[in-house]
Protein backbone atom coordinates (compact mmCIF):
# COMPACT_ATOMS: atom_id res chain seq x y z
CA UNK A 1 0.00 0.00 0.00
CA UNK A 2 1.33 3.41 -0.91
CA UNK A 3 1.69 6.04 1.76
CA UNK A 4 -0.95 8.64 2.54
CA UNK A 5 -0.90 11.30 -0.16
CA UNK A 6 -3.81 13.70 -0.13
CA UNK A 7 -2.26 15.83 -2.88
CA UNK A 8 -2.76 12.94 -5.35
CA UNK A 9 -6.48 13.79 -5.11
CA UNK A 10 -6.50 17.47 -4.26
CA UNK A 11 -3.89 18.54 -6.84
CA UNK A 12 -5.62 16.82 -9.76
CA UNK A 13 -8.05 19.37 -11.26
CA UNK A 14 -10.50 16.68 -12.45
CA UNK A 15 -10.86 15.07 -9.02
CA UNK A 16 -10.94 18.42 -7.28
CA UNK A 17 -13.64 19.53 -9.70
CA UNK A 18 -15.76 16.42 -9.10
CA UNK A 19 -15.54 16.83 -5.34
CA UNK A 20 -16.33 20.55 -5.53
CA UNK A 21 -19.35 19.92 -7.77
CA UNK A 22 -20.52 17.17 -5.37
CA UNK A 23 -20.14 19.45 -2.38
CA UNK A 24 -22.08 22.18 -4.16
CA UNK A 25 -24.93 19.74 -4.89
CA UNK A 26 -24.93 18.59 -1.25
CA UNK A 27 -25.28 22.20 -0.12
CA UNK A 28 -28.07 22.84 -2.67
CA UNK A 29 -30.01 19.73 -1.62
CA UNK A 30 -29.52 20.31 2.11
CA UNK A 31 -30.34 24.02 2.00
CA UNK A 32 -33.42 23.71 -0.24
CA UNK A 33 -34.86 20.80 1.71
CA UNK A 34 -34.19 22.69 4.96
CA UNK A 35 -36.16 25.68 3.69
CA UNK A 36 -38.98 23.43 2.45
CA UNK A 37 -39.01 21.51 5.74
CA UNK A 38 -39.06 24.60 7.94
CA UNK A 39 -41.85 26.37 6.04
CA UNK A 40 -43.94 23.20 5.93
CA UNK A 41 -43.29 22.58 9.63
CA UNK A 42 -44.70 26.01 10.51
CA UNK A 43 -47.78 25.34 8.36
CA UNK A 44 -48.25 21.94 10.04
CA UNK A 45 -47.92 23.50 13.47
CA UNK A 46 -50.51 26.18 12.69
CA UNK A 47 -52.91 23.54 11.34
CA UNK A 48 -52.40 21.49 14.46
CA UNK A 49 -53.17 24.46 16.71
CA UNK A 50 -56.62 24.93 15.21
CA UNK A 51 -59.32 23.41 17.40
CA UNK A 52 -60.50 20.99 14.69
CA UNK A 53 -60.09 17.31 15.55
CA UNK A 54 -59.75 16.33 11.89
CA UNK A 55 -56.88 18.76 11.29
CA UNK A 56 -55.07 17.52 14.35
CA UNK A 57 -55.51 13.89 13.31
CA UNK A 58 -54.28 14.61 9.78
CA UNK A 59 -51.11 16.30 11.02
CA UNK A 60 -50.51 13.52 13.53
CA UNK A 61 -50.85 10.94 10.73
CA UNK A 62 -48.41 12.94 8.57
CA UNK A 63 -45.85 13.03 11.38
CA UNK A 64 -46.28 9.34 12.24
CA UNK A 65 -45.85 8.25 8.61
CA UNK A 66 -42.69 10.27 8.09
CA UNK A 67 -41.11 9.20 11.35
CA UNK A 68 -41.75 5.48 10.93
CA UNK A 69 -40.87 4.89 7.29
CA UNK A 70 -37.09 4.94 6.66
CA UNK A 71 -35.93 8.10 4.88
CA UNK A 72 -34.28 6.11 2.09
CA UNK A 73 -37.54 4.26 1.40
CA UNK A 74 -39.35 7.61 1.24
CA UNK A 75 -36.81 8.88 -1.31
CA UNK A 76 -37.09 5.72 -3.40
CA UNK A 77 -40.88 5.93 -3.19
CA UNK A 78 -40.81 9.52 -4.46
CA UNK A 79 -38.29 8.96 -7.20
CA UNK A 80 -39.49 5.63 -8.59
CA UNK A 81 -43.06 5.39 -7.29
CA UNK A 82 -44.82 8.74 -7.14
CA UNK A 83 -42.97 10.12 -10.17
CA UNK A 84 -44.48 7.32 -12.29
CA UNK A 85 -47.99 8.60 -11.52
CA UNK A 86 -47.27 12.13 -12.76
CA UNK A 87 -48.61 13.15 -16.18
CA UNK A 88 -46.05 12.73 -18.94
CA UNK A 89 -45.68 16.50 -19.43
CA UNK A 90 -44.53 16.86 -15.84
CA UNK A 91 -42.26 13.83 -16.18
CA UNK A 92 -40.61 15.29 -19.29
CA UNK A 93 -40.12 18.64 -17.61
CA UNK A 94 -38.57 16.99 -14.55
CA UNK A 95 -36.36 14.85 -16.79
CA UNK A 96 -34.81 18.00 -18.22
CA UNK A 97 -34.49 19.70 -14.84
CA UNK A 98 -32.54 17.20 -12.72
CA UNK A 99 -35.45 15.04 -11.54
CA UNK A 100 -33.19 13.21 -9.06
CA UNK A 101 -32.28 16.34 -7.15
CA UNK A 102 -35.85 17.66 -7.26
CA UNK A 103 -37.28 14.48 -5.77
CA UNK A 104 -34.46 14.28 -3.22
CA UNK A 105 -35.28 17.82 -2.06
CA UNK A 106 -39.02 17.07 -1.90
CA UNK A 107 -38.51 13.73 -0.13
CA UNK A 108 -36.00 15.00 2.43
CA UNK A 109 -37.96 18.23 2.98
CA UNK A 110 -41.31 16.53 3.61
CA UNK A 111 -39.68 13.97 5.89
CA UNK A 112 -37.78 16.54 7.94
CA UNK A 113 -40.85 18.80 8.19
CA UNK A 114 -42.39 16.14 10.44
CA UNK A 115 -39.43 16.34 12.82
CA UNK A 116 -39.23 20.15 12.74
CA UNK A 117 -42.95 20.57 13.44
CA UNK A 118 -42.69 18.21 16.43
CA UNK A 119 -39.68 20.20 17.71
CA UNK A 120 -41.60 23.47 17.42
CA UNK A 121 -44.65 21.93 19.06
CA UNK A 122 -42.71 20.65 22.05
CA UNK A 123 -41.07 24.08 22.26
CA UNK A 124 -44.53 25.61 22.55
CA UNK A 125 -45.66 22.90 24.98
CA UNK A 126 -42.87 23.67 27.39
CA UNK A 127 -44.23 27.17 28.07
CA UNK A 128 -46.53 27.23 31.11
CA UNK A 129 -50.14 28.20 30.15
CA UNK A 130 -49.90 31.05 32.66
CA UNK A 131 -47.61 32.89 30.22
CA UNK A 132 -50.42 33.12 27.68
CA UNK A 133 -52.94 34.17 30.32
CA UNK A 134 -50.54 36.80 31.65
CA UNK A 135 -49.86 38.17 28.16
CA UNK A 136 -53.58 38.46 27.50
CA UNK A 137 -54.14 40.08 30.89
CA UNK A 138 -51.49 42.68 30.02
CA UNK A 139 -53.51 43.64 26.97
CA UNK A 140 -51.79 41.68 24.19
CA UNK A 141 -54.05 40.40 21.42
CA UNK A 142 -53.83 36.78 20.25
CA UNK A 143 -51.31 37.55 17.49
CA UNK A 144 -49.35 39.99 19.57
CA UNK A 145 -49.11 37.59 22.52
CA UNK A 146 -47.85 34.91 20.16
CA UNK A 147 -45.40 37.31 18.54
CA UNK A 148 -43.89 38.91 21.64
CA UNK A 149 -44.36 36.37 24.43
CA UNK A 150 -44.94 32.80 23.27
CA UNK A 151 -43.02 32.35 20.01
CA UNK A 152 -39.69 33.78 21.27
CA UNK A 153 -39.77 31.43 24.25
CA UNK A 154 -40.92 28.48 22.16
CA UNK A 155 -38.11 29.01 19.63
CA UNK A 156 -35.57 29.22 22.41
CA UNK A 157 -36.80 25.96 23.91
CA UNK A 158 -36.92 24.23 20.54
CA UNK A 159 -33.49 25.41 19.40
CA UNK A 160 -31.35 22.42 20.52
CA UNK A 161 -33.71 19.92 18.88
CA UNK A 162 -33.93 22.02 15.71
CA UNK A 163 -30.14 22.14 15.48
CA UNK A 164 -29.85 18.37 15.97
CA UNK A 165 -32.38 17.74 13.24
CA UNK A 166 -30.67 20.24 10.95
CA UNK A 167 -27.44 18.28 11.34
CA UNK A 168 -29.25 15.02 10.60
CA UNK A 169 -30.90 16.59 7.55
CA UNK A 170 -27.45 17.59 6.32
CA UNK A 171 -26.18 14.05 6.90
CA UNK A 172 -29.29 12.53 5.28
CA UNK A 173 -28.65 14.51 2.11
CA UNK A 174 -26.08 11.77 1.39
CA UNK A 175 -29.00 9.32 0.92
CA UNK A 176 -29.79 11.18 -2.29
CA UNK A 177 -26.93 9.31 -3.96
CA UNK A 178 -29.09 6.17 -3.83
CA UNK A 179 -31.46 7.74 -6.37
CA UNK A 180 -28.57 9.07 -8.46
CA UNK A 181 -28.07 12.64 -7.27
CA UNK A 182 -24.43 13.57 -7.88
CA UNK A 183 -23.81 14.97 -4.41
CA UNK A 184 -20.71 14.68 -2.25
CA UNK A 185 -20.98 10.98 -1.30
CA UNK A 186 -21.62 10.11 -4.94
CA UNK A 187 -18.61 12.20 -6.01
CA UNK A 188 -16.43 10.55 -3.36
CA UNK A 189 -17.34 7.15 -4.76
CA UNK A 190 -16.66 8.27 -8.33
CA UNK A 191 -13.26 9.75 -7.46
CA UNK A 192 -12.38 6.59 -5.55
CA UNK A 193 -13.28 4.48 -8.58
CA UNK A 194 -11.09 6.53 -10.89
CA UNK A 195 -8.14 7.35 -8.66
CA UNK A 196 -7.81 3.98 -6.82
CA UNK A 197 -6.82 6.02 -3.78
CA UNK A 198 -9.58 4.79 -1.49
CA UNK A 199 -8.13 5.90 1.82
CA UNK A 200 -7.34 9.45 0.74
CA UNK A 201 -10.66 9.96 -1.02
CA UNK A 202 -12.76 8.70 1.89
CA UNK A 203 -10.65 10.77 4.29
CA UNK A 204 -11.33 13.95 2.29
CA UNK A 205 -15.08 13.18 2.12
CA UNK A 206 -15.22 12.40 5.84
CA UNK A 207 -13.37 15.60 6.74
CA UNK A 208 -15.71 17.74 4.62
CA UNK A 209 -18.82 16.23 6.23
CA UNK A 210 -17.30 16.42 9.70
CA UNK A 211 -16.29 20.07 9.30
CA UNK A 212 -19.77 21.08 8.16
CA UNK A 213 -21.59 19.08 10.86
CA UNK A 214 -19.35 20.33 13.65
CA UNK A 215 -19.73 23.92 12.41
CA UNK A 216 -23.52 23.51 12.45
CA UNK A 217 -23.36 22.14 16.01
CA UNK A 218 -21.10 25.01 17.08
CA UNK A 219 -23.42 27.52 15.45
CA UNK A 220 -26.34 25.94 17.33
CA UNK A 221 -24.48 26.14 20.64
CA UNK A 222 -23.64 29.80 19.97
CA UNK A 223 -27.27 30.59 19.10
CA UNK A 224 -28.49 28.88 22.29
CA UNK A 225 -26.10 30.91 24.40
CA UNK A 226 -27.15 34.12 22.68
CA UNK A 227 -30.85 33.30 22.98
CA UNK A 228 -30.66 32.94 26.74
CA UNK A 229 -32.31 35.94 28.41
CA UNK A 230 -30.05 38.14 30.49
CA UNK A 231 -29.70 36.85 34.04
CA UNK A 232 -30.92 33.33 33.19
CA UNK A 233 -28.88 30.46 34.53
Amino acid sequence: MSSLDLSAILMKPEFRGMLAAGFEMTIIVALSSWLLAMSLAIVLLVIRLTPSRICEGAVAAYVTYHRNVPTLVQLIFWYFGISSLLPSVAQDWLGQHNAEATFAIIGLGLCQAAYFSEDLRSGLRSIPPGQADAARALGHGYISAMRFVLVPQALRNALPALVNHTVSLFKNSSLAMAIGVTELTYAVREVENESFRTFETYLIGTLIYLTCSLSLMALGAWLSRRAKPAGAR
Partner: protein, 258 residues
Protein backbone atom coordinates in the same frame (compact mmCIF):
# COMPACT_ATOMS: atom_id res chain seq x y z
CA UNK B 1 -54.92 -0.56 -7.55
CA UNK B 2 -55.79 -2.63 -4.47
CA UNK B 3 -56.11 -5.78 -6.56
CA UNK B 4 -52.70 -5.07 -8.11
CA UNK B 5 -51.15 -4.66 -4.67
CA UNK B 6 -52.78 -7.90 -3.54
CA UNK B 7 -51.47 -9.63 -6.66
CA UNK B 8 -47.90 -8.40 -6.08
CA UNK B 9 -47.95 -9.43 -2.43
CA UNK B 10 -49.40 -12.88 -3.09
CA UNK B 11 -46.84 -13.51 -5.85
CA UNK B 12 -43.84 -12.28 -3.92
CA UNK B 13 -44.51 -12.69 -0.20
CA UNK B 14 -41.80 -15.30 0.20
CA UNK B 15 -39.18 -13.06 -1.42
CA UNK B 16 -40.22 -10.16 0.82
CA UNK B 17 -40.14 -12.41 3.88
CA UNK B 18 -36.87 -14.38 3.52
CA UNK B 19 -35.36 -13.39 0.18
CA UNK B 20 -34.00 -16.24 -1.93
CA UNK B 21 -33.03 -18.08 1.24
CA UNK B 22 -32.79 -21.81 0.60
CA UNK B 23 -31.19 -21.13 -2.80
CA UNK B 24 -29.29 -18.00 -1.88
CA UNK B 25 -28.40 -15.75 1.06
CA UNK B 26 -31.05 -14.93 3.66
CA UNK B 27 -32.82 -11.74 2.59
CA UNK B 28 -36.06 -9.81 2.88
CA UNK B 29 -37.72 -8.98 6.18
CA UNK B 30 -35.88 -11.81 7.98
CA UNK B 31 -32.49 -10.36 7.05
CA UNK B 32 -33.59 -6.86 8.03
CA UNK B 33 -34.75 -8.05 11.46
CA UNK B 34 -31.69 -10.27 11.99
CA UNK B 35 -29.38 -7.42 11.01
CA UNK B 36 -31.11 -4.94 13.34
CA UNK B 37 -31.35 -7.38 16.27
CA UNK B 38 -27.69 -8.45 16.01
CA UNK B 39 -26.70 -4.84 15.43
CA UNK B 40 -28.39 -3.49 18.54
CA UNK B 41 -27.40 -6.53 20.65
CA UNK B 42 -23.71 -6.08 19.80
CA UNK B 43 -23.86 -2.28 19.88
CA UNK B 44 -25.34 -2.25 23.40
CA UNK B 45 -22.26 -3.56 25.28
CA UNK B 46 -20.07 -1.32 23.12
CA UNK B 47 -22.32 1.64 23.95
CA UNK B 48 -22.07 0.95 27.69
CA UNK B 49 -18.26 0.74 27.42
CA UNK B 50 -18.06 4.02 25.48
CA UNK B 51 -20.38 5.70 28.00
CA UNK B 52 -18.21 4.48 30.90
CA UNK B 53 -15.12 5.69 29.04
CA UNK B 54 -16.73 9.07 28.56
CA UNK B 55 -17.47 9.37 32.27
CA UNK B 56 -14.20 7.81 33.42
CA UNK B 57 -11.70 9.66 35.61
CA UNK B 58 -8.96 9.21 32.96
CA UNK B 59 -8.69 12.15 30.55
CA UNK B 60 -7.25 10.03 27.72
CA UNK B 61 -10.22 7.63 27.77
CA UNK B 62 -12.67 10.52 28.06
CA UNK B 63 -11.31 12.45 25.12
CA UNK B 64 -11.01 9.45 22.79
CA UNK B 65 -14.60 8.41 23.56
CA UNK B 66 -15.78 11.99 22.95
CA UNK B 67 -13.89 12.15 19.67
CA UNK B 68 -15.41 8.87 18.48
CA UNK B 69 -18.92 10.07 19.35
CA UNK B 70 -18.49 13.40 17.57
CA UNK B 71 -17.10 11.74 14.44
CA UNK B 72 -20.06 9.34 14.34
CA UNK B 73 -22.52 12.18 14.93
CA UNK B 74 -20.85 14.29 12.27
CA UNK B 75 -20.62 12.00 9.26
CA UNK B 76 -23.42 10.28 7.31
CA UNK B 77 -23.95 6.56 7.85
CA UNK B 78 -23.10 6.02 4.18
CA UNK B 79 -19.56 7.26 4.77
CA UNK B 80 -19.21 4.79 7.67
CA UNK B 81 -20.46 2.01 5.38
CA UNK B 82 -17.84 2.93 2.79
CA UNK B 83 -15.07 2.93 5.41
CA UNK B 84 -16.09 -0.47 6.77
CA UNK B 85 -16.47 -1.84 3.24
CA UNK B 86 -12.89 -0.74 2.58
CA UNK B 87 -11.16 -1.35 5.93
CA UNK B 88 -12.63 -4.63 7.25
CA UNK B 89 -11.33 -6.79 4.35
CA UNK B 90 -7.92 -5.07 4.74
CA UNK B 91 -7.82 -5.82 8.48
CA UNK B 92 -8.91 -9.47 8.38
CA UNK B 93 -7.29 -10.29 5.06
CA UNK B 94 -10.26 -11.62 3.13
CA UNK B 95 -13.44 -10.25 1.62
CA UNK B 96 -16.63 -10.33 3.69
CA UNK B 97 -20.26 -10.53 2.55
CA UNK B 98 -22.38 -7.36 2.50
CA UNK B 99 -24.34 -8.56 5.51
CA UNK B 100 -21.21 -8.55 7.68
CA UNK B 101 -20.14 -5.12 6.35
CA UNK B 102 -23.53 -3.71 7.26
CA UNK B 103 -23.49 -5.40 10.68
CA UNK B 104 -20.05 -3.97 11.55
CA UNK B 105 -21.21 -0.52 10.43
CA UNK B 106 -24.36 -0.67 12.53
CA UNK B 107 -22.45 -1.86 15.62
CA UNK B 108 -19.96 1.03 15.44
CA UNK B 109 -22.53 3.70 14.54
CA UNK B 110 -25.24 2.58 16.95
CA UNK B 111 -22.63 1.93 19.66
CA UNK B 112 -21.73 5.62 19.57
CA UNK B 113 -25.39 6.73 19.65
CA UNK B 114 -26.35 4.22 22.39
CA UNK B 115 -23.46 5.45 24.49
CA UNK B 116 -25.06 8.90 24.52
CA UNK B 117 -28.35 7.32 25.60
CA UNK B 118 -26.64 5.39 28.39
CA UNK B 119 -24.66 8.45 29.49
CA UNK B 120 -27.87 10.48 29.70
CA UNK B 121 -29.38 7.71 31.85
CA UNK B 122 -26.37 7.70 34.18
CA UNK B 123 -26.31 11.49 34.49
CA UNK B 124 -30.06 11.63 35.14
CA UNK B 125 -29.56 9.69 38.39
CA UNK B 126 -29.17 11.84 41.50
CA UNK B 127 -25.49 12.51 42.28
CA UNK B 128 -26.14 11.15 45.78
CA UNK B 129 -26.31 7.63 44.35
CA UNK B 130 -22.65 7.51 43.39
CA UNK B 131 -21.58 9.37 46.53
CA UNK B 132 -23.48 6.89 48.70
CA UNK B 133 -22.02 3.93 46.81
CA UNK B 134 -18.51 5.34 47.23
CA UNK B 135 -19.15 6.02 50.91
CA UNK B 136 -20.20 2.39 51.33
CA UNK B 137 -16.76 1.35 50.09
CA UNK B 138 -17.46 0.64 46.37
CA UNK B 139 -14.72 1.61 43.95
CA UNK B 140 -15.69 3.78 40.94
CA UNK B 141 -16.14 0.74 38.68
CA UNK B 142 -17.88 -1.36 41.28
CA UNK B 143 -20.27 1.52 42.09
CA UNK B 144 -21.04 1.73 38.37
CA UNK B 145 -21.52 -2.02 38.11
CA UNK B 146 -23.73 -2.61 41.15
CA UNK B 147 -25.45 0.70 41.83
CA UNK B 148 -25.50 3.08 38.86
CA UNK B 149 -25.80 0.90 35.74
CA UNK B 150 -28.68 -1.32 36.96
CA UNK B 151 -30.80 1.80 37.61
CA UNK B 152 -29.62 3.77 34.58
CA UNK B 153 -30.08 0.92 32.10
CA UNK B 154 -33.60 0.25 33.37
CA UNK B 155 -34.49 3.91 32.98
CA UNK B 156 -33.20 4.13 29.40
CA UNK B 157 -35.02 0.97 28.25
CA UNK B 158 -37.57 2.98 26.20
CA UNK B 159 -34.78 4.92 24.45
CA UNK B 160 -33.07 1.66 23.58
CA UNK B 161 -36.25 0.45 21.88
CA UNK B 162 -36.41 3.78 19.96
CA UNK B 163 -32.80 3.25 18.94
CA UNK B 164 -33.78 -0.21 17.71
CA UNK B 165 -36.38 1.43 15.46
CA UNK B 166 -33.67 3.74 14.08
CA UNK B 167 -31.48 0.68 13.50
CA UNK B 168 -34.21 -1.00 11.44
CA UNK B 169 -34.48 2.19 9.39
CA UNK B 170 -30.71 2.33 8.95
CA UNK B 171 -30.50 -1.23 7.60
CA UNK B 172 -32.18 0.13 4.44
CA UNK B 173 -28.85 1.77 3.56
CA UNK B 174 -27.51 -1.71 2.89
CA UNK B 175 -29.40 -1.31 -0.38
CA UNK B 176 -26.55 0.92 -1.60
CA UNK B 177 -23.96 -1.87 -1.22
CA UNK B 178 -26.42 -4.58 -2.33
CA UNK B 179 -27.02 -6.24 1.04
CA UNK B 180 -29.95 -8.62 0.52
CA UNK B 181 -32.56 -7.15 2.87
CA UNK B 182 -36.14 -5.88 2.58
CA UNK B 183 -35.50 -2.77 0.45
CA UNK B 184 -33.26 -4.80 -1.83
CA UNK B 185 -35.98 -7.47 -2.20
CA UNK B 186 -38.52 -4.79 -3.13
CA UNK B 187 -36.23 -3.31 -5.75
CA UNK B 188 -35.70 -6.83 -7.16
CA UNK B 189 -39.47 -7.19 -7.51
CA UNK B 190 -39.63 -3.76 -9.11
CA UNK B 191 -36.91 -4.67 -11.60
CA UNK B 192 -38.80 -7.81 -12.53
CA UNK B 193 -42.23 -6.15 -12.95
CA UNK B 194 -40.94 -2.83 -14.36
CA UNK B 195 -44.42 -1.33 -14.74
CA UNK B 196 -45.60 -1.12 -11.11
CA UNK B 197 -43.05 0.96 -9.17
CA UNK B 198 -45.71 2.86 -7.22
CA UNK B 199 -47.43 -0.28 -5.94
CA UNK B 200 -44.18 -2.10 -5.10
CA UNK B 201 -42.64 0.74 -3.12
CA UNK B 202 -45.96 1.53 -1.44
CA UNK B 203 -45.99 -2.05 -0.14
CA UNK B 204 -42.41 -1.55 1.04
CA UNK B 205 -43.31 1.66 2.89
CA UNK B 206 -46.36 0.00 4.49
CA UNK B 207 -44.29 -2.95 5.77
CA UNK B 208 -41.67 -0.67 7.33
CA UNK B 209 -44.41 1.51 8.77
CA UNK B 210 -46.17 -1.42 10.47
CA UNK B 211 -42.97 -2.78 12.01
CA UNK B 212 -41.56 0.56 13.17
CA UNK B 213 -44.90 1.92 14.37
CA UNK B 214 -45.58 -1.16 16.53
CA UNK B 215 -42.13 -0.90 18.08
CA UNK B 216 -42.64 2.83 18.71
CA UNK B 217 -45.86 2.00 20.54
CA UNK B 218 -43.90 -0.53 22.60
CA UNK B 219 -41.33 2.16 23.43
CA UNK B 220 -44.11 4.56 24.53
CA UNK B 221 -45.70 1.88 26.71
CA UNK B 222 -42.32 1.08 28.29
CA UNK B 223 -41.77 4.79 28.88
CA UNK B 224 -45.03 5.04 30.83
CA UNK B 225 -44.11 1.94 32.85
CA UNK B 226 -40.63 3.25 33.64
CA UNK B 227 -41.98 6.71 34.53
CA UNK B 228 -44.61 5.18 36.83
CA UNK B 229 -42.02 3.07 38.56
CA UNK B 230 -39.62 5.99 38.99
CA UNK B 231 -42.36 8.23 40.36
CA UNK B 232 -43.14 5.67 43.05
CA UNK B 233 -46.53 5.06 44.63
CA UNK B 234 -47.40 8.72 45.34
CA UNK B 235 -50.17 10.22 43.21
CA UNK B 236 -49.31 12.88 40.67
CA UNK B 237 -51.53 15.68 39.39
CA UNK B 238 -51.84 15.75 35.61
CA UNK B 239 -51.78 19.12 33.82
CA UNK B 240 -55.27 18.44 32.46
CA UNK B 241 -56.61 18.40 36.03
CA UNK B 242 -55.65 22.03 36.57
CA UNK B 243 -58.90 23.35 35.19
CA UNK B 244 -59.70 25.52 32.19
CA UNK B 245 -57.65 28.59 31.42
CA UNK B 246 -58.92 32.13 31.68
CA UNK B 247 -58.26 32.86 28.02
CA UNK B 248 -58.49 31.25 24.64
CA UNK B 249 -54.71 31.37 24.20
CA UNK B 250 -54.23 29.60 27.51
CA UNK B 251 -56.61 26.94 26.25
CA UNK B 252 -54.48 26.56 23.13
CA UNK B 253 -51.37 26.22 25.25
CA UNK B 254 -53.11 23.60 27.38
CA UNK B 255 -54.42 21.81 24.31
CA UNK B 256 -50.88 21.61 22.94
CA UNK B 257 -49.62 20.46 26.30
CA UNK B 258 -51.76 17.33 26.32
Amino acid sequence: MLTEIYQIVSDNWLLLLIGQYPNGPLGGMAATMLLSLLGIALAFPLGVLIALARLSPFAALRSSATALIYVMRGIPLLMVIFWVYFLVPLLIGRSVPGFVTMLCTLVIYEGAFLSEVVRAGIQALPAGQIDAARALGHSHLSAMRYVILPQALFNVLPSIVSQFVSTIQETTLGYVINVPELTFAASQINNRLLTKPFEVFLILAIIYFCVCWSLTQLANWLERRVAARRAGPQATVSPAARGPSATRLGDVAREVGK
